[in-house]
């Protein structure tokens, strides 16, 4: 079981326009924690920085400043090749995340072999079949021999989940795992993720722009606006009792027929351009905080959160 502590993560990109160079801050002092058995939802619109955070957590990019601290249960830091074994990702596009040239078996077997989870071809094959069965893909023997284009979107995403768990990952970054799937199979895949999380006590980061699934699938929601965290707290609290203007805007803008035919334009009530993203409301600490201030405030918030959670 593994924990992840992200502290004051900052990622800058240099934009070159002709001879001018400007700096784009995609992630601005973001802190969050992933703990075993809990799902944290990272909610924000496109361009808010959530995909960048995913890339940093999976070491596809390195941060400009800030730390990503991953530790095992006994406190040993996770580094090097162990990192790849512990932290894995499920990509958004099921049609692009599997190599059209290789069989499903190859996709699940490679992580097993890289991290030496199995020895020999027979054992690897057996384990591949077990993993496919675990994600409800049966008959596993047939699916393993197929190629990605022969499977449906939902099946492909299940293969992606199997691949991510193959190395024995304890931390799963799910980057919009169901947004490109057909509506009627989304809940099935989310259910699967939920079940696997409970069985393996995974720490899951669920990145999405869909508030409704964020609320029901995750324990905690972190709202990102223009690279900064503007609100964090238990899922129900953030959705049903939003404090920050941006969260209120999101909650009002999301279609919700059960709210009644309230076709009020959210923009009429809250001016998006005037949203202040230098403050963040933390439901755990029950207070407003300054964003962009040094790690001290993050540490305080975390200890307050732990205090609240254990209380």
């Amino acid at each position: 079981m593994t924990r992840v502590h992200v502290t004051d993560l900052v990622k800058d990109y240099t934009i070159r326009e002709g001879l001018r160079r400007s700096r784009l801050r995609a992630v601005d002092h973001v802190s969050l924690d992933l703990t075993p058995g809990r799902t944290v939802a990272l909610v924000g619109e496109s361009g808010s920085g959530k995909s960048t955070i995913a890339k940093i957590l999976t070491r596809m990019e390195s941060p400009t400043s800030g730390t990503v601290d991953v530790r095992l249960d006994d406190g040993t830091p996770v580094q090097g090749s162990l990192y790849r074994r512990q932290v894995q990702m499920v990509f958004q596009d099921p049609y692009a995340s599997l190599n059209p040239f290789h069989t499903i078996e190859h996709h699940v077997a490679r992580p097993l072999r890289i991290h030496q989870r199995t020895t020999g071809a027979a054992q690897t094959h057996q384990r591949v079949l077990e993993m496919l069965e675990r994600v409800n893909l049966s008959p596993a023997e047939q699916i393993a021999a197929r190629r990605p284009h022969e499977l449906s979107g939902g099946q492909r995403q299940r293969v992606a989940i199997a691949r991510a768990l193959a190395p024995g990952a304890q931390v799963l970054i799910a980057d919009e795992p169901v947004s490109m799937l057909d509506v009627s199979i989304r809940l099935g895949v989310l259910n699967l993720l939920g079940r696997l999380q409970r069985e393996d006590r995974l720490a899951v980061l669920y990145i999405t722009h869909d508030l409704a699934t964020a609320r029901h699938f995750s324990d905690e929601i972190v709202v990102l606006f223009r690279g900064r965290v503007v609100e964090r707290g238990p899922a129900d609290a953030v959705i049903l009792d939003p404090q920050h203007d941006y969260t209120k805007l999101l909650a009002m803008a999301a279609p919700d027929p059960e709210r009644g035919p309230a076709r009020v334009a959210a923009g009429a009530v809250i001016d998006r351009a005037a949203i202040d993203n230098s403050v963040c409301y933390d439901h755990f600490a029950g207070e407003w905080q300054q964003v962009g201030s040094p790690a001290r405030s993050a540490a305080t918030a975390r200890s307050a959160a732990t205090a609240r959670r254990t209380a």
Binding site: G154, L187, N191, I239, L249, P255
Partner: protein, 305 residues
């Protein structure tokens, strides 16, 4: 062919006149093993109504929209059915019988369409002004330059885009703005029907809400009918007067939004409704607790041995 007996149709909530009648439309893709993309679709669109067309990928909703516009290309063909447009002026037009000049005149001035991925349908190398002007010139060749400019400005203001953006190029506008420009372009000739195919799918939820508000407001002002095609059922439930649910080429349910939400009749409609966890309510809470209700393992019986 679906008969109205199997189709779960509710009584029309609006008693206004019909502006478009589609009767028993069937569209077939003439490939090696012909595929029936739309089967016996019948529906009536009323003046000023917002009709939602809901369904998942491959259900035929886009094919239906294209067929109504006569934009479908071979190997797609209309195998049977009627599409009748009832003009405000009082006469009826058989859309399937239109040819050439009449068809061109019908398209865009009576019925226009905002396409899926409309943001990429703007020509990247010409300015917005030029594109609006081209559309106007094609249909109203006698408009003067001043009139064209005035109409372009008017239509952009209507959708909430700063008229100064006329000189911009598409890449200089945000996604939401490009979508509004596409809607503006579809409104240029004040059509009586606007078909919108997933117009807000690629936009974030806040911009989507703004655009939806615009569409409803424009409908209220100008009284055109809208066919709104999307897979996002909650969205339709909020803005549509009636909703048609499509599955595998057939319209399986057609009813007012309220009744569809409260008493869905077709099992697929129920399944679709159940797939959207409610934001403020309790539906969907099972994901966290782990009690499986609607969703089980992927139906793998489709995989042949």
């Amino acid at each position: 062919m679906t008969s109205t007996a199997t189709l779960a149709v509710g009584p029309d909530a609006t008693d206004r006149d019909a502006v478009l009648t589609i009767r028993d439309l069937t569209v077939v893709y003439e490939v090696e093993e012909p595929v029936t993309a739309v089967e016996g679709a019948s529906l009536t669109l009323h003046r000023g109504e917002i009709l939602g067309l809901a369904g998942e990928s491959g259900c035929g909703k886009t094919t239906l929209a294209y067929a109504v516009n006569r934009l479908h290309r071979p190997p797609a063909r209309i195998a049977s059915g009627d599409i009748v447009f009832h003009d405000r002026a009082g006469h009826d037009v058989d859309v399937l019988a239109l040819e050439d000049a009449d068809l061109r005149e019908f398209r865009w001035s009576q019925l226009s369409m905002v396409f899926q991925g409309a943001m990429n349908a703007l020509n990247p190398v010409t300015s917005i002004r030029a594109q609006l002007r081209d559309t106007l010139r094609a249909h109203r060749p006698r408009m003067t330059r001043a009139q064209v400019e005035a109409r372009s400005v008017e239509v952009l203001e209507r959708v909430g885009v700063d008229p100064r953006r006329l000189s911009s190029y598409p890449h200089e506008l945000s996604g939401g703005m490009r979508q509004r420009v596409m809607i503006a372009m579809a409104m240029l000739l004040e059509p009586q029907i606007m078909i919108m195919d997933e117009p807000t799918t690629a936009l974030d939820v806040v911009v989507q809400r703004e655009i939806l508000t615009e569409i409803v407001r424009l409908r209220d002002e100008l009284d055109f009918a809208v066919v709104f095609i999307t897979h996002d059922l909650p969205l339709l439930l909020e803005i549509s007067d009636r909703i048609a649910v499509m599955l595998r080429g057939e319209i399986v349910e057609l009813d007012t939004s309220q009744r569809l939400l409260r008493e869905p009749r077709h099992p697929y409609t129920r399944k679709l409704l159940g797939s959207f966890p409610s934001l403020h309510g309790e539906r969907g809470a099972f994901i966290r607790s782990g009690v499986d209700e609607t969703a089980g393992p992927e139906p793998t019986t489709e995989v042949p041995a």
